[in-house]
Amino acid sequence: MSDKKYEVLSPLMGTFYRASAPDNPPLVEVGQKIKASDILCVIESMKIFTELRSEYSGVVKEILVENEDPVMKKQALMIIEKE
């Protein structure tokens, strides 16, 4: 991983959601510009919802998992290209 890119990791085992509520549109799309602290996705573990926020401003390069996929702790979820 180059210095310009950073991987968003899941903080815990759970289910990956691209939206903050089932009927809402995805929080981000590939190619979208984002600011630091923007919400990227939501991880549900044991009915607790954790919003993952971007540490950097930049562009969403890749989304590595599908909506509703189970994810492991520290699994890479997205790749962000830093501004």
């Binding site: 815990l12 289910t15 509520a21 573990s45 044991m46 009915k47 607790i48 919802f49």
Partner: protein, 457 residues
């Protein structure tokens, strides 16, 4: 017939087979009650629960879909199909999932399957907290200042919050257990909380409706267990003290409450029965109150189902609540008189959760390597876990309940301490080490607690 007897006339039980629309410890609890009553059981399970204890304990088990709740345990169609295929006479919904979904009770009623709980109409009236508040306000029951209506937007929420005064709390209309609840101290926080609270409510209960209340600081959470039969006869089974909470999740419950004297018990009990009667409530239910330091109480909500913490009431009254749920649903008279219900001794329950007390109780799924359970006099464990059990991330973090009974509160505390010391779960983080510390806390031992006790440690 003996007082408090659960016995019914030979051949009077109309249920041959009961389907349990739930999982985990409560599914096992219900299966145990059915077995003791000579009723066959049908478990349902998702991919994640294929090898679970309730599936093994039941006479029959039916697969209802993938691990995600909305595709299995929250999927009404799949559960109704299973109930019809298995020729179930009745369905027990447990707690959580579809237990307070009026359309589930309605689907059962329409299919000629008995729903073990209140009627669909009653669930819609009482399980829905906004409409329950409206009914009870009209009756003069004290309620917490706030909205009687579903909030339609962050703007309406902010306008209302200004009227009742910050801080305010957002709550889910469709369920309990702290899901969908958020506190806001100012309009900015309220706007942010609105969408997440609604999203959590939708995911947990399939209903995104939320309402708002003034947030009362430092109250006690005290609730009354009631039973009501189909003929309008009600009793209450005294109170449970549930003030020890973290993130609105109860962690320790006890019965009775050291804060509740005979006068307050009578007042709360009578109010609970008034509420149940007004709602046309049948079966087991819980009326939750907030009680302030001056013993002024406010109605909070009706939990139209069996509660996680029902065992502490069973331990002090000798009444099997799940058995009575089945008997009442089967059309039996409630053969209990209020004057016969005399709580004896003290019971306490610790919720054993797969969460990390050292990391703000964050969920901690994983595989259990080994377990040593506590035992001995006055100790009860309700759980579905075992050596090698995989605690997945898909459902609630509750993996078991440790309940003790003894003659008085201090003895119960001592008994809980030694039971916690015996309890050893390897492989995942649990709340056990946290409880060991709480039971040594001087203020807890004195009963000097409120709902912020854990925040102020």
């Amino acid at each position: 017939m003996k007082k408090n007897s659960h016995n019914i006339k030979e051949g009077a039980m109309p249920f041959k087979r009961i389907l349990i629309a739930n999982r985990g410890e409560i599914a096992l609890r219900i299966i145990r009650a059915c077995k003791e009553m000579g009723i066959e059981t049908i478990a349902v399970y998702s991919d994640a629960d294929k090898d679970s204890l309730p599936v093994k304990a039941a006479d029959q088990a039916i697969h209802i879909g993938p691990a995600l709740s909305y595709k299995s345990y929250l999927n009404l169609d799949k559960i109704m199909t299973a109930a019809r295929e298995a020729k179930a006479d009745a369905v027990h919904p447990g707690y959580g999932f579809l237990s307070e979904a009026a359309d589930f009770a309605k689907a059962c009623e329409d299919t000629g399957i008995t729903f073990i709980g209140p009627s669909a109409e009653c669930i819609a009236r009482s399980g829905n907290k906004s409409s329950a508040r409206r009914t009870l306000t009209d009756l003069g029951i004290p309620v917490i200042p706030g909205s009687l209506d579903i909030l339609t937007s962050p703007d309406t929420a902010c306008a209302l919050a200004e009227t009742v005064g910050f801080p305010v709390i957002l709550k889910a209309s469709g369920g309990g257990g702290g899901r969908g609840m958020r506190i806001a101290h100012n309009p900015k926080e309220l706007r942010e909380a609105f969408s997440m609270a609604s999203g959590e409510a939708k995911a947990a209960f399939g209903n995104p409706d939320i309402y708002l209340e003034k947030y009362i600081t430092n109250p006690r959470h005290i609730e009354i267990q009631i039973l009501g039969d189909k003929f309008g006869h009600y009793v209450h089974l005294a109170e449970r003290e549930c003030s020890i909470q973290k993130r609105y999740q109860k962690l320790i419950e006890e019965a009775p409450s050291s804060f509740v004297d005979e006068d307050l018990r009578t007042a709360l009990g009578n109010t609970a029965i008034t509420i149940a009667r007004a709602l046309g409530y049948t079966n087991a239910g819980t009326i939750e109150f907030l009680v302030d330091k001056d013993k002024k109480f406010y109605f909070m909500e009706v939990n139209a189902r069996v509660q996680v913490e029902h065992p502490v009431t069973e331990m002090i009254t000798g009444i099997d609540i799940v058995r009575w749920q089945i008997l009442i649903a089967a059309g039996q008279n409630l053969a209990l008189k209020q004057e016969d219900i005399v709580p004896k001794g003290w019971a306490m329950e610790c919720r054993i959760n797969a969460s990390d007390p050292d990391d703000n109780f964050m969920p901690c799924p994983g595989r259990i390597e080994s377990i040593v359970f506590p035992g001995g006099p006055g100790v009860r464990i309700d759980t579905h876990i075992h050596d090698g059990y995989m605690v997945g991330p898909f459902y609630d973090s509750l993996i078991g309940k440790l309940i003790v009974w003894d003659q008085d509160r201090l003895s119960a505390i001592r008994r809980m301490k030694r039971a916690l010391d015996e309890f050893d779960i390897r492989g995942i983080q649990t709340t056990i080490p946290f409880f060991r510390k709480i039971f040594l806390n001087k203020n807890f031992q004195k009963g000097d607690i409120d709902t912020h006790f854990l925040d102020n440690l």
